[in-house]
């Protein structure tokens, strides 16, 4: 089946940035979680997950992000999630209080800067 989401990973100044394009739901959430966890090598300070091109995200996606953040924390790494101010996805993240455990940024640059600073 053609995936409903594409995961694109690029490094920006030693910080891996994973851009999720498409829809994340029960169909693919756990698989993406595994893929994202593998995207941040031990040497990296953490991972930026960019949701600015994510067209759909629900509680399964939130759950995946929370679990990913926990696993990374155990590895002394940080997860930052990028979600633009006017993104429809933002409301889902707020409702599920993701921002309580995972810091949200408006842009990738912002997130990368934060991660490098914390290093």
């Amino acid at each position: 089946m053609t995936p409903i989401v594409a995961v694109k990973i690029q490094n920006q100044d030693t910080v891996p940035v994973a851009r999720l394009e498409g829809e994340i739901d029960i169909l693919n959430a756990s698989e993406i979680g595994i893929q994202l966890f593998g995207a941040a090598p031990n040497t990296a300070p953490g991972l930026v997950v960019d949701l600015s091109r994510t067209t759909y995200l629900d509680s399964r996606g939130v759950q995946m992000l929370v679990e990913l953040a926990e696993r990374m924390r155990r590895r002394q790494q940080r997860l930052r999630v990028v979600v633009p101010e006017r993104s429809v996805v933002r409301r889902v993240l707020q409702l599920s209080h993701l921002d309580a455990s995972v810091p949200l940024d408006h842009t990738v640059e912002e997130a990368v800067t934060h991660l490098r600073k914390e290093q």
Binding site: T2, I26, D58, S59, V88
Partner: protein, 686 residues
């Protein structure tokens, strides 16, 4: 013993002549008569070897008597006694058929000589006649034998003809039994044990009114119930059994009075049972019985029955081999047709498959694919040829097409790839069409297949044109994608050429008939439309070819109401969201509302899928209605919700509550209904 008659009215001569004869002719009995009437009486009673009569007698004379003798005993030589010098009379006598004449005074030596010669001639004549009769008899017997043998050969030829056009077990065996009773026996029972152990029985009686008696008898003592049943014995031994006189084993079986009565009523006098042996295996037996005293089975009848059995066994064996191959092809082909069409939210699909000749499986197939983004792939294909080979090629193409299509290849590259894939010498036509319900557009490639038919919402019809060579037709054909935009509410019909081609009909006429039938067909649902089309096109023209039909219709969205049914699997969700978004936009929700209501609905469905079900073919029903500015989403399933488990599992419900104004979960004994409401802002904005 030689016996002659002497007729004379002269008592002296009548006394003297016999004496003279007895002295000169050995072992002769001489009768006498003194008048023609007395003589005639004797001649009527005894076939004399010779008759001697005087010409001159009172009343009926010798010549008159001669003429009567010639009539009643034409072979008996008659000698006439004439007076001296009565030459005229003598000549008259010879002309009248006398053997000789004796002149008076009688020369006794000459008389005796003539008489002996007459008797000899008569004897020789008799012998010749006897031989001729024997010859005639022999010829007649020979002729009868030829007639009988011819009839037997004709019967065997007829039987072979019947067996060659093997229809099915019951029909062929019934016919054979019926044919046999008119020629070979009065009763015929044919048993065949099929490979799966099922026994087939055909029963016939020369007198159809007594058929029920035989049937009854068979029901009362079936061979499998009794080891000593003749049929059971022959099935075991593979050897013929014959009882030309008393069918003691039949009587021996008569364990109850009813059976005995039936046997007596049938009055069977002679029975034989011959095995059906094919490739050293006994596959059945033919029982033949006679109920007429003049019909006794002998070696000839047994040989004929065994000949019949050999032919029958061969046909049974062929039929089995054929059936086996047919079953393989059929199973293969059926397993390649979708067991169930996918349920695609908002899109109705229906299909029909009608096999043509039952004896040869064709290579027609159809497929329906759910493609990403609420798109539907329709496939119709037809592999040239029949049987296992065609079914196997069809399987390869079908699976390859699925794989390419699901990888997201558009129609033309799919056709090109299939063309590389198809083996040299194989040929197939395919139509691959992608329908996008959101835009009402189709993209397709047609490789040698009849054109798809589109029925508009106004019942107008048109064919989607554009064709390319069939797969396997050219080494490097180029396939071009065709596109068309349909009026919302249109119906697409795909079919194989068996629907429009058939015997004696040209394709254009077939296409026109299809258009007419489709335009006149019931509008209400696709299933009845397809039934109507099938009946209309194949009614008076039973197609020899297989026919596959596939139809798709998407309803235009009703801004007040949306109803969807889909399998309770995660894969349903992307399509559900796609169509729900479309509907919410039609219902004038703003982008944020569209997103949030979609999330709530998707969450409810995810819960239903994850918590409510284990069953493989479970269904979820989603209803969305809009009245005024309120949107109500109802998600119904037929399972039981479990309490949320794990730290994050409760998140879904929280999400629903956060996105909607009100969320209500209503469990009932049969399942769970989630009802969610949300007031749209659009009224305020206006």
């Amino acid at each position: 013993m030689t016996r002659i008659l002497i007729v004379d009215d002269d008592p002296a001569l009548l006394h003297a002549l016999p004496e003279a004869v007895r002295l000169r002719v050995d072992g002769v009995i001489v009768d006498t008569a003194d008048s023609a009437p007395v003589a005639l009486e004797r001649i009527g009673a005894v076939d004399y070897d010779a008759i001697v009569t005087d010409i001159k007698m009172p009343g009926m004379d010798g010549l008159a008597l001669l003429s009567r003798i010639r009539t009643i005993r034409p072979d008996t030589p008659t000698l006439l006694i004439t007076g001296h010098g009565e030459h005229d009379l003598a000549i008259q006598a010879l002309r009248g058929g006398a053997y000789d004449f004796i002149q008076k005074p009688i020369d006794r030596e000459y008389f005796a000589l003539s008489l002996r010669r007459a008797i000899q001639v008569r004897e020789l004549k008799r012998q010749v006649e006897e031989q001729q009769r024997a010859l005639r008899r022999h010829a007649e017997e020979l002729e009868q034998a030829v007639v009988a043998r011819t009839r037997e050969l004709q019967f065997l030829a007829e039987a072979s003809k019947l067996l060659a056009v093997w229809l099915d077990y019951p029909t062929t065996l019934e016919h054979l039994a019926r044919m046999t009773v008119t020629v070979l026996a009065d009763v015929c029972v044919i048993d065949v044990v099929e490979e799966d152990g099922v026994a087939q029985v055909a029963v016939a009686h020369a007198d159809p009114s007594r058929q029920a008696l035989i049937r009854n008898l068979r029901r009362r003592c079936p061979p499998h119930a009794n080891e000593s049943h003749p049929v059971a014995r022959v099935l075991r031994s593979g050897q013929s059994e014959m009882d030309a006189e008393v069918p003691h084993w039949l009587v021996g079986e008569a364990t109850d009075g009813e059976v005995m009565k039936a046997l007596l009523e049938l009055g069977i006098t002679s029975v034989m049972v011959v095995p059906l042996v094919a490739r050293e295996r006994t596959v059945g037996a033919i029982t033949l019985a006679a109920d007429r005293p003049d019909r006794r089975f002998g070696p000839r009848e047994l040989a004929l029955a065994e000949d019949l059995a050999r032919r029958t066994a061969l046909a049974v064996d062929n039929a089995r081999l054929y059936q086996r191959e047919h079953r393989v092809a059929e199973t293969l082909q059926r397993s390649l047709l979708p067991q169930r069409l996918p349920e695609i939210p908002g899109v109705a699909v229906a299909a029909r498959y009608r096999p043509g000749q039952p004896e040869a499986v064709g290579g027609d197939w159809y497929d329906v694919l759910t493609l990403p983004g609420w798109q539907v792939g329709l496939v119709m294909g037809d592999v040239a040829g029949r049987g296992v080979r065609a079914a196997a090629v069809m399987g390869q193409l079908r699976n390859a097409l699925r794989a390419y299509a699901l990888e997201g290849h558009p129609p033309a590259p799919v056709a090109e790839r299939l063309n590389y894939l198809i083996d040299l010498g194989e040929m197939a036509t395919i139509l691959y069409l992608i329908f996008d319900p959101a835009t009402w557009t189709v993209r397709y490639v047609n490789a040698g297949h009849p054109p798809p038919l589109v029925i508009g919402p106004d019942r107008s019809t048109r064919f989607l044109g554009g064709g390319a060579p069939p797969l396997g037709g050219l080494l490097q054909p180029s396939y071009r994608e065709e596109t068309a935009t349909l009026a919302p509410g249109s119906t697409i019909v795909l079919y194989t050429d068996g629907l429009v081609e058939g015997k004696g009909a040209n394709v254009d006429e077939g296409l026109r008939r299809l258009e007419r039938a489709a335009a006149a067909g019931p509008d209400a649902d696709l299933e009845s439309l397809l039934d109507h089309v099938l009946t209309a096109l194949l009614r008076d023209r039973p197609s020899g070819d297989d026919v596959a039909l596939l139809a798709l219709r998407a309803s235009p969205l009703d801004p007040d109401r949306l109803e969807l049914r889909m399998p309770a699997v995660p894969f349903s969700l992307p399509s559900l969201r796609h169509i729900l978004r479309q509907w919410l936009e039609t219902a004038e929700a703003d982008p944020e509302e569209v997103y949030e209501i979609t999330v709530a609905c998707s969450e409810a469905c995810t819960n239903a899928i994850e918590h409510a079900y284990n069953a493989a073919d479970a269904i979820i029903e989603v209803k969305a209605t809009r009245s005024g500015e309120e949107v109500v989403i109802t998600v119904r399933d037929w399972g039981q919700w479990r309490p949320p488990r794990g730290k994050h599992r409760g998140r879904g419900l929280g999400m629903m509550q956060g996105m909607m104004d009100a969320v209500e979960i209503i469990p009932d004994p049969r399942g769970t209904t989630v009802q969610m409401r949300r007031r749209l802002r659009r009224e305020v904005q206006r």
